[in-house]
Symmetry: C2
């Protein structure tokens, strides 16, 4: 026999959905208003920029991001079409490639961060103190595997 979740648990779940929805709404609205690429491009570009010229294999990116294998494959195809990343042949493994950010890619990432950081402030920073954010992070961390 399975235990029913307490009201507290259910409400936490409900507010997790609501909060994520609201916060993501702010961020996406500001991205669109800024005429920027979709939100999902940011994380890819940022992970790649941190590796600079070396880049990352696709499966490494996959580990770092919240995206499926095929989702990433197609996401990269789109970002590549916009010339913000390149898929370079990979000498040590013929199946894959190294994905690297381009110079325009770095440029747009910086531009996106301008908007993104402000959006995070709108969605979170203006609503919670640093102390509360720290507390929130600690609680949420328990929900992540």
């Amino acid at each position: 026999m399975n235990k029913k979740p307490s009201d507290e648990v259910v409400m936490a779940w409900v507010y997790l959905l609501k909060a994520q929805n609201a916060a993501m709404g702010h961020v996406e609205a500001m991205f669109k208003k800024g005429g920027l690429p979709p939100f999902s491009w940011y994380d890819v570009l940022w992970e790649l920029e941190k590796e600079d010229a070396v880049g990352l294999r696709q499966f490494q990116l996959e580990e770092r991001l919240l995206v499926s294998q095929y989702g990433l494959s197609r996401l990269l195809t789109r970002i590549e079409k916009a010339e913000y990343v390149e898929r370079l042949p990979c000498s040590e493994d013929g199946r894959g490639h190294r994905v690297v950010i381009t110079r325009p890619g770095k440029k747009i990432r910086a531009k996106m961060w301008e908007v993104y950081s402000q959006a995070i402030n709108t969605a979170v920073g203006d609503r919670l103190s640093d102390k509360q954010c720290e507390q929130l992070k600690r609680l949420l961390a328990n929900l992540v595997d």
Copy 2:
């Protein structure tokens, strides 16, 4: 000049995304494993079941749920095709209709809740105490308009 978000704010944002992703992953996996309709159907059925025979106008449902107008319109079309809801003509407003849950709809909602409630336990209840859930809810409530 715009203020940069503090590290605490950024980390709270990051963990909001991660936690939502992980928690939703658990729920969707369990729904799929149970051969149940998509997750999004649940809230619709539940809101309607609470109104029983009276039902709700589409715009009322829209206010209660986290879904766009056209998203809801098509969601209802799909749920209606499965015969879990009906769109009845509306005497007092010829533009719309009353949406009501059917008997099979109530049946499947109950079945979905069996799985859903367990999934919420897996995603949240097994990971946070009631006190922590309460705290989490309070913090997240600040992020919702």
